[in-house]
Point group: C2
Chain length 261, copies 2
């Protein structure tokens, strides 16, 4: 891994920050370039990264170029910037965008998708983190895999179609679960009850699901088709939160159909 | 708490088991009576409880009688058994059933609702567990509260209407979240991917939600109204899982309406 000295990160969100922290920690020289110069400077202050001011500063010295930007602008930015570093391995970090976004724009390219939700704090624990990788040919794939293994014990080569399904599962257990937490938070807030009261239940729920098959440990009124309780909940939601009522019905119906068919 | 020596638990599910373990540990003499004699015996083997064979053995020696049975049969069993122990404080452990289920059947009664999901293993950590209590008058309530405080630092007096809302929130963060885990499990299973791959993401999701307000940390395609990704997920679900498609749409719409209105 010695030949890899210079890495460019394009983007200045939380993925860019966490990768810059990681690469800096491992001794690489990191440059950062993003739309929002101030944000890049903030990342640089925490990571020793060097901030590029203009795209003209992107040179051909980088071994890896990471596109850590929103899915919707990856294609556009690859089009714009890949021309400046023809020898680099170009990578994006998206769960949904196909590797083919680099076709004809780059000779060596791939995907480096860490299966995690990133925030500013705390630093990410990379060691256990699954990193899903893909390369445009066997040699490139091997290089990306070796690099990823330097940080994580949990790297896996996954093609774009399969990655999309893992991303869907990730959306369900992260985005959807968080929205359910928000809805529970709201219900309690109306009665001045702190969300914290649910903490032991929330923790037990995930411990059980990670230990057993979630299919086997389902409980609750929908599972036992307890019409009385289901109706009381629905009556309350009809008055208080019609959006949550729709969620309540779709999940309860799905539970009923899973166990009573 | 010295006057409390004898406790009767009616029921032989996981709540009955966990309460029997707790009371035995604290030195009370526990009797257990349930529909399924064999199950009662299994509980007795782990807890030193004494098993009653017939309802005629229910005497008036009990300080507390716990109805740890399904919501749908609480009223019926109170009707049947409360007559045998007129001096006891009768309690149920349900999140949804009103305290009034004991009206005219008992002089001293209330609710002892531990906000947790119970399994056979491991033993419950009661110390941090919220126990929601209610009594039919101030003195009884005080007795139940004192008893609950002996196990938990987190007891709270909550009236039946408010308890129903907390129960709804509990259904959302436990039953609904577990069903989402099952659905994510299924998606991965089809491609021979282990559910374990989501563990770091699942753990980070709950740590974030417990540290911040879930409303403020929402991410994902629905939040940023990323129509391209939403449609790709929906196309996949249309072919693979119509039930999950309905859940996907109801939650995504709710997220969109939360942040874009």
């Amino acid at each position: 891994l010695k030949q890899i000295t210079n890495i460019l990160i394009i983007g200045n969100g939380n993925v860019a920050l966490q990768l810059a922290l990681l690469f800096n920690q491992k001794g690489y020289s990191v440059d950062i370039y993003g739309r929002d110069y101030e944000k890049s400077v903030q990342i640089a202050e925490r990571t020793n990264a060097n901030v590029l001011k203009t795209k003209q500063e992107i040179s051909d010295k980088y071994y890896f170029v990471f596109y850590c930007v929103k899915d919707s602008v990856i294609a556009e930015l690859v089009e714009k910037f890949s021309i400046f570093s023809p020898k680099a391995i170009n990578l994006h970090c998206s769960g949904t965008i196909s590797i083919s976004v680099f076709d004809k724009k780059s000779l060596k390219y791939g995907v480096f998708y860490p299966l995690q939700t990133f925030s500013k704090e705390p630093e990410t624990n990379w060691k256990q983190l699954p990193i899903l990788i893909e390369g445009n040919n066997v040699e490139v794939e091997k290089e990306i895999a070796e690099f990823a293994k330097y940080f994580s014990e949990n790297t896996e080569i996954v093609f774009s179609e399969k990655r999309l399904k893992i991303h869907l599962a990730a959306v369900i257990v992260n985005n959807f679960v968080n929205h359910l937490y928000h809805k529970a938070f709201q219900i309690l807030e109306k009665d001045d009850i702190e969300f914290k009261i649910l903490e032991p239940l929330i923790r037990k729920t995930i411990e059980n699901a990670l230990k057993e098959n979630p299919l086997d440990i389902q409980t609750g009124p929908a599972k036992r088709n307890d019409v009385f309780t289901l109706n009381r909940h629905k009556e309350y939601l009809k008055l208080e939160d019609k959006e949550l009522l729709k969620i309540y019905e779709s999940i309860s119906n799905s539970i009923k159909n899973t166990y009573n068919s």
